[in-house]
Each structure stands twice: as structure tokens, then as C-alpha cells.
Symmetry: C2
Subunit: 322 residues, 2 copies
């Protein structure tokens, strides 16, 4: 039987785990609530139990585990550093050592979006790319860069934070503390906030109909459908956000001349309206060299990019920063 690898994604709400073969074919997958309030020890125990149950189900013991964490990790030592969406006790937790000891195989840590980038690189559109950028447009905007076939980590595994490129110098406050970050202008959170505003001032009748006027029901999907149904103001809002995203993409293109830009995350579901706007913005903004050959594509792996990135990380035996 071929070797089996494990992947785990530590999120603020859920822990998702999969086992897969070296071809990226998922054998089993399972998800449990993180219950982060119980603290790192309890969460690590839950992870060990989750892995044991997957292992039983698959009837195979993985060679190694790649784990994505929502923030900064000391990649070389497998220690969590700064996970903004989890309780503060996660600073300096030796996850790789603790969990690796219990599981009996190596555990490698990486930022979750860098891990998704690695997934797209190894099993997705990136397979044939030399240099690519990955934008995960969801609640926030995460990112990852691959230069000359290698995931760019930087000394803290924090390079590639593309959601925090400044797009509008005097723009709105970002969660990170800066102003005018791409995340503050083009994340699903930014898009839906604008959708709610437009709905409240009466400019989005279709969105009002589909959500019952309920702000919490406004999603990028609902906005996308409302735009298609005739809400022009909503369409404009989505295009405006996509243009901000496009400026960030254009800047990455100007700096690195990659062959591939991948856009994933929930907001990628907006589809052509978003992708066409990004492509147009790159054409308008990058004048120093032709950009027609640069692919700007939705993630091939979709919401599996992170999970398969963990498999790739486990197969690689971890990464060495920078």
C-alpha cells in the first residue's frame, strides 16, 4: 500500500482533518469543533483523538501531518506564535513536539493560507507554474507567494500576507491596524457591509427580497445573485471591490511577473464579475510588459486547497524558512 499523509486545519471554529495519498486523493476526512475556549491542551488532545479516529477509519498510519494555523507560527520549530482569532494562550505552544509525541510521527506547522498556496502549487493550477500568487478572499484576505517554484515564507513564515497590501493610502481602518488594506476594501466582510448599506438605503431591492431585509443574511453569494437579478448598485459594489483586489493583483504582477494568479476563498464564487474585473484592472494598470500570458484563475482545489496543502507539507517533510 502506498504511503498515507495527514493534514489538519486548525480554525477558530472547527478542526478539519484528512488523510490522503501522495497523489492528493483524499481517503477520509473529518471535522470537529475547536472549542478554543478550553485552551491549547484540550484542543491538542482533541486533535490527537481526531487523528486516531481517522487512522482507524482508513486502516493506515500516516507518515507525517501538515497542520495549518490561522496566524503566525515558528515554522522551523513547529511552535505557534500569534493566532489572532484564538485565545492568547496559543503564544509559544510547541504544537509539533507535543502532538508529534502523541501521534508517533512528525508534525509540521504552517500558516493556513500559505498551506492552501502550497496545496494549489502541488495539486492544483500551480503544478505547471514557476511563480504564482494565491489570494484567499473570504472573511479576511489571506495570501501566499511562490517564487521560482518555492513557497516564499520569509524569516517568520509571514511573507505573502497579500490581504494587507495598502491599496488606498487613506482608506478604511483594517483589522491589522493599518488603513486601506486590500482586506478592508475587498474581503467578503467589506463587500457584504457595503451590500447591507445599499440594502438599507433602498438601492438593492432584489437583495432585500432574497434576504428578507436581514443584514445577517447578506453574503457575497446573495449579492452576486441580486446583481444578476438586476440590483445595479450591488453589481457596482462588487465590481468596485474587485477593482481594489485587481490593484493588489496588478502590484504583485508588476513586482514579480508571475505566470499565475489564483483567487480562492468564498468570494471567488462571485465568478466572472470578479475575475473579469481583476483581469481588466491588471491590463489597465500593468503597462511595463504584456500581461496576456498571465493566468488569473479560480482555485482548482476550491475549499480543499488547505487540506491538500497540509498533505503536500507532510510529504515535503516540512519547509525551511525563509
Amino acid at each position: 500500500m502506498a504511503a498515507v499523509y495527514a493534514s489538519m486545519d486548525l480554525g477558530g471554529t472547527n478542526i478539519k482533518a484528512v488523510l490522503a495519498g501522495p497523489d492528493g486523493k483524499v481517503l477520509v476526512s473529518k471535522s470537529v469543533p475547536t472549542e478554543a475556549h478550553e485552551g491549547p491542551d484540550a484542543v491538542l488532545s482533541r486533535m490527537a483523538t481526531l487523528m486516531a479516529s481517522l487512522q482507524d477509519e482508513a486502516g493506515a498510519k500516516p507518515e507525517a501531518l501538515g497542520m495549518g494555523v490561522p496566524g503566525l507560527a515558528d515554522v522551523a520549530n513547529g511552535v505557534t506564535k500569534f493566532l489572532p482569532n484564538l485565545p492568547t494562550q496559543w503564544r509559544d505552544v510547541p504544537v509539533a513536539e507535543t502532538l508529534g509525541g502523541r501521534l508517533g510521527h512528525p508534525v509540521y506547522l504552517l500558516n493556513d493560507v500559505r498551506m492552501a498556496t502550497l496545496g494549489e502549487l502541488t495539486f492544483g493550477h500551480g503544478k505547471t507554474a514557476n511563480t504564482m500568487a494565491f489570494f484567499a478572499v473570504g472573511t479576511g484576505i489571506g495570501g501566499g507567494l511562490v517564487v521560482d517554484g518555492k513557497l516564499r515564507l520569509g524569516p517568520l513564515g509571514a511573507a505573502g500576507e497579500l490581504g494587507h497590501l495598502t491599496i488606498v493610502p487613506d482608506g478604511p481602518r483594517c483589522g491589522c491596524g493599518n488603513y486601506g488594506c486590500m482586506e478592508a476594501l475587498a474581503s467578503a466582510t467589506a463587500m457584504t457591509a457595503e451590500g447591507v448599506r445599499l440594502m438599507l438605503i433602498g438601492l438593492a431591492p432584489e437583495l432585500h427580497k432574497s434576504t428578507g431585509g436581514n443584514a445577517d443574511a447578506v453574503t457575497t453569494k446573495a449579492m452576486s445573485e441580486a446583481a444578476a437579478a438586476g440590483d445595479d448598485a450591488i453589481k457596482e459594489a462588487l465590481v468596485r471591490a474587485a477593482r481594489y483586489l485587481g490593484i493588489g493583483v496588478a502590484n504583485v504582477v508588476t513586482a514579480l511577473h508571475p505566470d499565475l494568479i489564483v483567487i480562492g476563498g468564498g468570494a471567488a464564487g462571485i465568478g466572472d464579475l470578479l475575475f473579469d474585473t481583476v483581469r481588466e484592472t491588471v491590463r489597465e494598470r500593468v503597462k511595463m510588459f504584456p500581461t496576456d500570458a498571465i493566468g488569473i484563475k479560480p482555485s482548482l482545489l476550491g475549499d480543499q486547497a488547505g487540506a491538500l496543502g497540509g498533505i503536500a507539507l507532510a510529504m515535503k517533510g516540512g519547509l525551511t524558512p525563509p
Copy 2:
């Protein structure tokens, strides 16, 4: 005797050439007018004559020549592509082949600012850097990126055009066709235009005194001195431009987490006012990881960065894109 290498910089006004040893010590240097209007054949002949004269003077034949060109070149084949400041006949001129044939040694082409980046990497501050960005702030703003010790070229040798990062989406028109590029906001040309405006509306008495009110005499050096002498509006204008530069630097830092940023070109002579503002802007804008360890320095090689980059290029036997 140790090997000798040659470097040449093809500019719109002058052709500068040097011979140097593998330690970057310049043996001889010489400059002649480009006389670009005479066309590529005449210019290439002038180059060959210039090289012969340097060779005579040094009493040594170089192993190879690294040549910087002001625009795009097909790096792999040594063919000029798009040199915006030279006549259009330079499109598709096989410079490496033609000149190499006459000189009897290999000739390698590279964009001039990428060549300066290679110079700073090989003989300057970059010697100990893993990842660095070079900003050449002069009439325009050129750039270059080094990732994991390797100059990033991209498929056309055009990656690293950092002067054309969009900084202000609705900003002023740039020479490249885009709006709000760093070059349109923070080049010496942009700074001095603002200096002239302030002088004409009476807000720069010191600058008026030192230049005799002559717009053509307004340089970043004159502005720098006027700021020091008490022209607050000029000081503000320089700080404002430096902040735009700083936003571009912050974006490169966020994307790549380099260990070194080098700022060269004439405007780097503004000194602390510029460098302190750039450092402050990076601190304010990059919140995702600590940036204190990232060096932000003036070029160690100053106006020799390009020349020594040519030497490095010759020593390397050219570069392979991307």
C-alpha cells in the same frame, strides 16, 4: 593576473564603461556620448571602440561584458526589445551577438536597474541578504527584486518594476500609461515639479533664493537644502513623496518579508528626511509581523551600482530567466 570583466551602461545620453576585477575593484572607466539619433549600428560601433580603448588602457582583455539597457531586453538571447528612451530602431537588435562577435568575448544584456540590483547584491549591502528590494529613485523610479539570493527576472527580465506599483488608485498619470504609480508620485521629477509649484506660489523663499527663481535649477538637492534652511512647505513636499515611496516599500515588505531594502538613485541624497519617513511608513503600515530587523539603507555603491552590476553579470556568465 586575475581575470578582468567589463561592464557597460547604455543610457539615453551617455555610454559608461568600466573594467574591473572579480572583487569589484574598478581598473579603468570611461564615458562617451550615446548619440542615439545615429541609430543602433553607429552606437554599437562606438561601444566596440570604447571597449577597445579601455582594454588598451588596462592592458587586459576582459572575459565577458555585462551590459545594462534602459528598458526591456530578451535576456536569454541578448536582444533589445523595448527601450522607451531610445529611438524605436532598437527593437529586436541582437546586441549580444553583434557586439560579442566584434569584441571576441560574450556579451550579456540586462535592464539597467536590475543590473544595479545585481551590483548591490554582489558587491554592496546585499552581500549578506537573502531577499532584498532595490529602488532607484531618480528621473523615474526603477527597481529590482532578489528572492532567496536570486535576482527575479520573470519571463521578460521585467519583474521588479517597482516604480510602477500603483500607490494612489486615482493618482496622477504616469509615463507608463497607468495612474498613481510610485514613479508619478515620488520620483525626483515628481518632487521637483512640486518644488517648482511651491516656489511659484511663494511658499519656498529659500528655494527661490538658491535657484534665482529658475525652475530648471530646482533639483531634489536644492529642495533638500531649502528644507534645511527653513522652507517648511518644501520639507512637507519631500516627506509626502517619501511617504508614497514608503507605501510601496511597505507593500513589498508585506508581500515578501525581505531582510533588506536599498534605496539608490539621485533622490537618495535627500538623506534622513527620506529614509526616516520611509522607515516610519513601513512601521505604520506593516502590522502583520515585526519589521524592526529589516534594513532600509542607502545604496552602498551609489552611482557605481550599475557598473558593478555589469561586472557581476559578466562574472556570472549571464542570467537565465525567469
